[in-house]
Every structure is written in structure tokens, then in C-alpha cells.
Amino acid sequence: MPGLMSRMSMIIKSKFSKALDKAENPNETLDYSYEQQLQQLQNVKRGIADVTTAKKRLELQYTSMQQQVDKLDGQARDALKANREDLAREALSRKATVQAQLGDIMAQGQQLEAQQQKLVEGEKTLAAKVESFRTQKEVIKAQYNAAEAQVRISEAATGIGEHMADVGMAIDRAKDKTQQMQARADAVEELTAAGTLTDFTSSGSDDIDRQLKEISHSSQVDDELAKMKAEIGPGEAPKQLEGGEEAETTEASS
């Protein structure tokens, strides 16, 4: 079995030799090939734009996931302040899960960034090569000599085709990578939003928020109650009884 290096060369070369077999009239072949190169260059530019857009969207998502982390952190603090260690624990465990995913996405995002820079570089090189092909084809046309021209066309076309395949492949890989990360970020976001990231929660969406609200409500009630008690002071027995009844009713209704 041949190694990867030779295998790769064989694949790429076989893709281009087919197109070159048709080379009968050098002038036509050269012009046609040049037109195709210009088109390909456009495709490459579009591909880079696609990757850039996808990366931007991913960055936005990253920011919103970061906010999610901050929010969970805040919730944990609030819960702790309210002496609800269970809730705080729950919020922190969700935070850890989102954070782990964030770390992965960031590392991959950095790789993507590097790849993207290479793509832009590759596009520049390709543009230079296409321009060089344009000049060469005019020279070959002018000094037309069937056998010699055939060889030079083949060389130039294979050389440039190889480069186009290279850039094209790099774009495809970058796109794949972006999609993978996007899918992952989507999944994490969805799970976090639905509150189903962990199995601890049986209830729906922002149950932590709801419970926290309840706590703050009840502490507000407690505060007010305490204030009221202080204002009123220890009253007579019947009055205290009335208050007790009221409290029982509220409890029952809630």
C-alpha cells in the first residue's frame, strides 16, 4: 500500500489528467482553462466569506453562552445567600457543564481562526497563480509548437489545478469544522435554555429562577412581617390570634 504522500498525489493528479486529455487545440484549451480558473477563484472567495460568516455567528453564540455562565454564577450566589445550598449546587453544576463546552469551542475556534488566515493566504496565492497562468498562456500561444505546447499546458494546468484543489479542500474542511462547532454550541444552548442539562431537575425551563423568586418573595414577606411585628409590638392575646389565623389561610392557599 502506498503512503499518504504518494496516495494524495495520485488522487489529485488523476483528477486533472482527465481534463487535460482533451487538449487538442492549445489556444482553446488555454482560454477555457483560464475561464474556469477565474470562476474557481470566485468560488474560493465565496467559500472564505461563508466560513467567515459562520465563524462570526459562532462567536456571537459563544458570547451568549458566556452570559449563560455568568447568569448561572449569579443564580448560585443568590441561592447561597438565601441558604438554598441545593439550588446553588444545581446552578454551579450546570455552569460547569456549559463552561467545559465553552472551553472546547474556544480551542477549536482558535484552530479555525488559524485555518481561516491560511485560506485568505491561499486565495491570494491562487490569484497570483491565475494571473501567472494568464501570462504564460499568451506566451505559449505565441510560440505555438504542438508537442512542446502540450507539455507546458499540461504542467501549468496541473500545477494550478492542484493549487485550486488545495484551497478548495481547505475551505471544505474549515466549513466542516465550523458546522461541527455550531451544532455543538446549538445543542448546549438548547439544553441550557430548557434546563435539561442535568438529571437533577424534574421541572421545566428556569426552575432555578422561579424558586429563587419564591425565596425572595418569602423573604420579603418575612421582612415585612418582622417589620410589622416590630411596629405593632406585642399586642393583646385576641389580636395575636387573628394574625395567626390570617397566616394559616395564606399558607393554605399557596
Binding site: 481534463a19 484543489a165 488545495d166
Partner: protein, 97 residues
Amino acid sequence: MIVRLLGEGQFRVDDDLMPTLNELDAAVLRAVEAGDERALWDGLQALADAVRGHGTRLGDDELVPSDAIVPPEDLSLDEARDLLADDGFIPGAAATA
């Protein structure tokens, strides 16, 4: 001879380097067969480093086919296996011809 590092460009390297490159290439192949992605990346990295270190980069205006092509350094095991299978792993490369 001319070697292309995919995603990077072409390099002109001395023919004397060929045995070294073949050895490194064989190590890469062994890594794929063993299913060891870490070794695969290390191997590809070593291959690319050898070409970069001993070769000179070809100008942007030179249009020559490569004698050998080195896959990207972050090639996954799956991609490598596809590459070694019959179809190759550059779908649509025919369309770019």
C-alpha cells in the same frame, strides 16, 4: 523535486531528502493502521517540518505540478482512511479541474 504541503504551498526539496520523507511517510501509514490519531498528527507534523526545514518555497507565479503531496497536519483518522480507500477524499476535486 516538488512537494506540496496541503494548505500551505509548494516546496522545492533536494532529491537526497526523499529517503527521509519516505520513512516519515511510512510512519504515518503505520499510525493510521494502528488507529493512533496522536501518532498520525505527530507523523504529519514531522513530515511537514522536514519539507519546510529543507526546502525552499516556490514562488506564487510558478505553475508546476507536485511530485508528492503531504496531507494537512490535522488530518483525522477518518480522513486518512478515506484517503487510503479507493475514492480518495477530495470530493468535487474533479469539478475544480
